[in-house]
């Protein structure tokens, strides 16, 4: 590759301020906060307009240089670290909130809008609406999250965030702009259908299909009141039915499970964290009563927690980065696996066993998705970022967990490249054939985040 020639062309597109191949600038883009090893980057570029994205993609295609789209870069599983060098396209300068449609309940935004930005915009301008955001830090992008089947406090009730995409504007590897969803034929970005739905192609494909430049995401009414009813359960085997009952009763906004061996008093219990919402105090009291009764029936018990702790859980987004076990050395990565409810007890066992085997304090949990239709079960491995052996230990634990989740019938979420290969080993051959065919059709030169979802 003629580095200077490419650099000059990229400068022509975005200006010299917003492209770099300087090692000082590239360093941070060669790694992410997860346990993956660093991998080299050739350029990082920060486009502002869709036309710039088109020109960059055309150039990359011509020169056969990989492009890796990046939002907040906080997926943790190395998905934004180039696998075969190339151009990291940091999308965060494309950060316009183009339209909030309160009546049709969607936000039309550029791909670099962060969850913090959208949350604050709604809080300040449309306080009766709320966005689907994860508990990841506010610097993540709405696009990056929705495009990986992310989930958050609204997912129990309304589904994963991928399903909340109404429409996409995408620059495909041919450099052309494509529109998907109602925006392909209407001024309103209000729905995905009723036309053949291609949007799924861009979800969990980890930037291998194209670069999303705009998206419409669903917004939801914000209830007047929100509270939490904590439960404590000693016997994980009761959990699937208990959770299923809670969703039947339709009393929960969000349902989280938490299992951790530290501090000592938490060991051996599953914490059930059910968020309830309502218009009146009375409604909350009634929902609390229903939940307390359900806990009792499931040999679990209601747990009163201090206000201080409750406030931590009520924050939006929650400060989940504390899982980084700062004292140990600042790093963590988790396997999140999508599983059917019935596999929750098995996953608790698997997570605990693998953590202990690797000398890591078990820290696991789950978030319910789509009223009991599935759960995102996470097993989190903390590590000392300054200790390569400890990082390798975490990588091994993650790999083992991916394998175990697949074996029992779950599907690793936002899996690292090695995890993607495990998934594809188990995948129906015709699915793989089709995936390969579609990828080749859309991206014949294989420039889009290569290494990911590569059918061998």
């Amino acid at each position: 590759m003629e580095v200077n020639k490419i650099l000059n062309k990229l400068i022509e597109i975005v200006g010299s301020e917003f492209v770099s191949n300087n090692p000082a600038d590239l360093y941070i883009y060669s790694q992410d906060p997860g346990a993956s090893e660093p991998r080299p980057v050739d350029f990082v570029i920060l486009p502002k307009k869709v036309e710039e994205v088109q020109k960059i993609v055309r150039l990359a295609n011509q020169e056969k240089i990989p492009i890796i789209p990046m939002g907040g870069g906080l997926t943790l599983s190395g998905l934004v670290i180039p696998n075969r060098r190339g151009i990291v396209m940091d999308m965060k300068r494309m950060n316009k909130i183009i339209e909030i449609s309160p009546l049709n309940r969607y936000a039309l935004i550029e791909a670099g809008v962060t969850s913090g930005q959208l949350l604050a915009h709604l809080n300040n301008n449309h306080p009766d609406l709320q966005p689907p955001i994860p508990d990841a830090p506010p610097s993540i992008t709405i696009a990056g999250n929705a495009l990986i089947h992310g989930s958050g406090y609204l997912s129990q009730k309304y589904g994963d965030h991928g399903s909340m995409i109404n429409g996409l504007e995408v620059v495909l590897p041919d450099g052309e702009i494509y529109k998907f969803g109602s925006c392909a034929l209407s001024d309103y970005w209000f729905t995905r259908g009723p036309i053949p739905d291609f949007i799924g192609l861009f979800i969990s494909s980890f930037g291998t299909m194209g670069i999303v430049t705009k998206l419409s995401i669903k917004l939801f009414p914000k209830p007047n009141m929100r509270d939490i009813v904590f439960g404590l359960c000693k016997d994980p085997s009761v959990l699937p039915e208990l959770i299923s009952n809670i969703t039947y009763a339709d009393v929960a906004e969000d349902i989280l499970l938490g299992i951790q061996d530290k501090p000592d008093w938490m060991k051996g219990y599953t914490f059930i964290i059910v968020y309830i919402t309502g218009e009146t105090e009375e409604e909350l009291i009634n929902k609390t009563k229903i939940l307390k009764k359900m806990y009792r029936k499931a040999k679990s018990r209601y747990m009163k927690v201090p206000k201080r702790i409750e406030e931590v859980f009520l924050e939006k987004p929650q400060f989940a980065a504390k899982a980084a076990d700062f004292r140990k050395g600042g790093g963590f990565e988790y396997v999140g696996a999508f599983i059917p409810l019935q596999l929750i007890p098995k996953m608790i066992q698997i997570g605990t066993d693998i953590s202990l085997k690797h000398g890591i304090i078990p820290t696991l949990g789950a978030r319910l998705i789509g009223q009991g239709h599935s759960a995102m079960f996470f097993i989190s491995y903390s590590f000392n970022r300054a200790d390569p052996k400890d990082m390798k230990n975490a990588r091994d634990a993650l790999h083992e967990t991916n394998k175990a989740a697949l074996e029992i019938g779950g599907i690793p979420w936002k899996a690292e490249i090695a995890g993607q290969q495990l998934i594809m080993e188990k995948m129906d051959p015709n699915y793989k054939k089709l995936l390969k065919g579609i990828k080749n059709l859309i991206d014949p030169n294989g420039i889009m985040n290569p290494g990911n979802w590569e059918v061998k």
């Binding site: 000082a24 941070i28 940091d90 913090g116 604050a120 300040n124 501090p263 050395g329 600042g330 000392n384």
Partner: protein
């Protein structure tokens, strides 16, 4: 999380052991409510490299040997106004309060390795120059003429430490302070002060700092004073939290002028006789606000000046947008520095006020520079200058 505290405040010993713990989560980029980026460096450059997390990871890269020192790496470290927004918003307690210190410590390493940028080097060269002792390259004023003009004794209870910016660039502010102290009947004097070292500490050029602190402390002690007052947020921060690292004696108390004014008002000793009929917005200097957590005193004063209507900018107190002068940015990146100040002026415009007040001569300088360069039409006055415009009476201040 939680539990034992494992980071001691002894930064010299520990900063290299903890820098890798930054998660790179990015809370530090934002305002409190996440509505905007509030790290001037990230907002300008937009590469992750220039966020606090990026900077800390880069520093770790240097420590671990993955990166070598060079001009570009040093530039990333220096393109930061040490505004402290990161400390304010980073969620990791016992780590967040060290962020600016870590950046400054890494700048010390840059200096040791020969990568201090040229513009910033001038600061130390001028300060060490025995004709100057100040970062502005002005001939040193031993303040004897001022002592004479204001009839100040050799020995006194208080020392008014003027600070280089007020003494060489913002003399109106200095003179307003002198007049106020006189009128308040404060038993004070001046010393032949040398730079407090704020600019060179902030830029990692610390080799001569100890000598300067020793000299200034010696001069202060010679007057028999037990209290030092300054109207500069930078000097105040430096004397109160950096000097103690070198001279841990507690015989000298440090005050910002606004603290004295506030005390006089609280005790009913300061009475304003005329009104200042203006809408005012207040700019929190980073060195007084986020660094020293002094947010309310300046506001309490402004609110008690008859006729003043204080209107807050959207970003205020711990959330304030930096003026862009600090951390060596004014000298190192002059254009960017006024761009930062311009953003503050634009924010001030939304308050529909024509007067911006602050409590720092360096903020005043930079806000004024942007005001002139971009023809924003503001009047920019320090609190002490506003008071100087009024008739007031001070009774029994001793």
């Amino acid at each position: 999380m939680g539990g034992e505290i494992i980071i001691s405040a002894n930064l010299e010993k520990d900063w290299k052991d903890i820098v890798h713990r930054c998660f790179r989560c990015g809370y530090c980029k934002f305002t409190h409510d996440y509505s905007d980026f509030n790290c001037p460096s990230y907002k300008k450059y937009r590469f992750e490299t220039y966020s606090t997390g990026g900077r800390l990871w880069l520093i770790y890269g240097l420590i671990s040997g993955e990166l070598d020192w060079n001009k570009d790496v040093a530039n990333v470290l220096y393109a930061c106004s040490t505004c402290g927004n990161c400390s304010e918003n980073c969620r990791f307690d016992k780590f967040n309060d060290l962020l600016v210190d870590i950046i400054e410590a890494a700048r010390e390493e840059a200096v040791k390795n020969g990568y201090c940028p040229e513009n910033q080097k001038a600061l130390v060269e001028r300060i060490k120059n025995t004709e100057m002792y100040n970062p502005y390259g002005e001939k040193n004023s031993n303040n004897e003429a001022l002592k004479e003009e204001y009839d100040l004794p050799d020995e006194a209870e208080w020392v008014y430490y003027i600070g280089c910016t007020s003494n060489y660039r913002q003399k109106e502010l200095r003179d307003a302070t002198l007049r106020f102290l006189k009128k308040a009947n404060i038993n004070f004097t001046l010393i032949d002060e040398h730079c407090c070292c704020s600019p060179i500490i902030r830029t990692g050029q610390t080799e001569c700092v100890k000598d300067f602190i020793n000299y200034n402390m010696m001069k202060i002690r010679e007057t028999g004073a037990s209290k030092v007052i300054t109207s500069c947020a930078g000097c105040y921060r430096t004397m109160k939290s950096d000097w103690i690292k070198h001279d841990d004696s507690t015989d000298i108390e440090i005050f910002h002028t606004v603290e004295l004014i506030n005390d006089l008002l609280n005790e009913g000793k300061l009475n304003f006789k005329t009104e200042f009929n203006q809408k005012i917005t207040y700019h929190d200097p980073c060195h007084l606000g986020r660094h020293m957590k002094m947010y309310e005193i300046p506001r309490d004063i402004l609110n008690r000046i008859p006729g003043v209507e204080l209107i807050e900018m959207e970003r205020n107190r711990g959330n304030a947008w930096c003026c862009g002068a600090g951390g060596g940015v004014k000298i190192g990146y002059p254009e960017w520095s006024v761009e930062i100040a311009k953003e503050r002026l634009e924010e001030a415009k939304k308050t529909d006020t024509a007067l911006i007040s602050s409590a720092c001569p360096f903020c005043r300088t930079n806000l004024n520079d942007a005001n002139q360069e971009f023809e924003m039409g503001f009047e920019i006055l320090d609190i002490i200058e506003i008071i100087d415009n009024l008739d007031y009476e001070i009774t029994n201040s001793n």
